[in-house]
Amino acid sequence: MDKKMCWILIFVTIAVNVVMVQWTVESYLGREFNQVVIYSGISVVSAFIAFFVFLNWRKLEYAEENQQ
């Protein structure tokens, strides 16, 4: 996974999370508790993806600098 891919993935997870927050709140207010759990599950998974992708990006980014 190169750095560009990391950037793309992180921004994709932001998009996913924004939508999921919206949907979670919506279905929470509508008392559709099953859906709340599903949406928030997706959201947490995507947060984890963002985290690990970020770690990966950091490794690549600073490895380059240390080689110079």
């Binding site: 999921m20 929470y28 928030s40 959201s43 998974v45 995507s46 947060a47 240390n66």
Partner: protein, 177 residues
């Protein structure tokens, strides 16, 4: 990658050009607002957004456990002629509701707090519609969906049952139709 280098990558002993251009008047800003910190903020925002949904699902799981609809007597059917309506409270005393015997002979019940700003809605039999007088919100009496005015969401539907001429409320649906 040695440990020392890792720590120093943003500090003054870094080998990075950006850090060492000391004549740069905007050096502080350059160190603070750059491509790297942008991505860090973005990743942080994504993680924060993702985790912010967790409290909702915790509350939802608690809600699922305690969701139990008791059966409540509303009133006698023969006292409610066609085109008439009556109020009651369901599921708690703080949830006003309205039972409508429509002009077509159907029996429907909704929580009567308008989904706009909670004014109580009432049944207007001339037009066979539920009306909220506060800001002229109209709801379809057959399914509780908003048809006109400011309300955007449907009225919560109360499921009813008729047994031996007595009307009972048996449950509530927030999203329906």
């Amino acid at each position: 990658m040695t440990n020392e280098c890792k720590k120093g990558r943003n500090l003054k002993n870094s080998k990075s050009d950006m850090v060492n251009l000391t004549k740069n008047v905007d050096q502080k800003d350059d160190l603070k607002y750059n491509r790297r910190s942008f991505l860090k903020t973005a990743a942080g925002a994504s993680i924060a957004l993702g985790l912010s949904t967790v409290p909702f699902s915790v509350r939802a799981m608690m809600g699922m456990a305690e969701e139990e609809n008791e059966r409540l007597e509303i009133g006698r059917l023969d006292q409610l002629g066609e085109g008439e309506s009556m109020t009651f409270n369901y599921p708690t005393d703080n949830d006003p509701a309205i039972l409508v015997h429509t002009v077509n002979g159907d029996l429907v019940a909704y929580n009567s707090a308008c989904t706009h700003l909670m004014c109580p809605v009432f049944y207007k039999k001339e037009e066979d519609i539920l009306l909220c007088p506060c800001h002229k919100g109209y709801f379809d009496v057959n399914n509780g969906q908003p048809v006109e005015g400011p309300p955007q969401r449907e009225l919560p539907l109360i499921e009813i049952e008729v047994e031996n001429g007595i009307v009972y409320a048996t449950g509530r649906k927030y999203r329906h139709g």
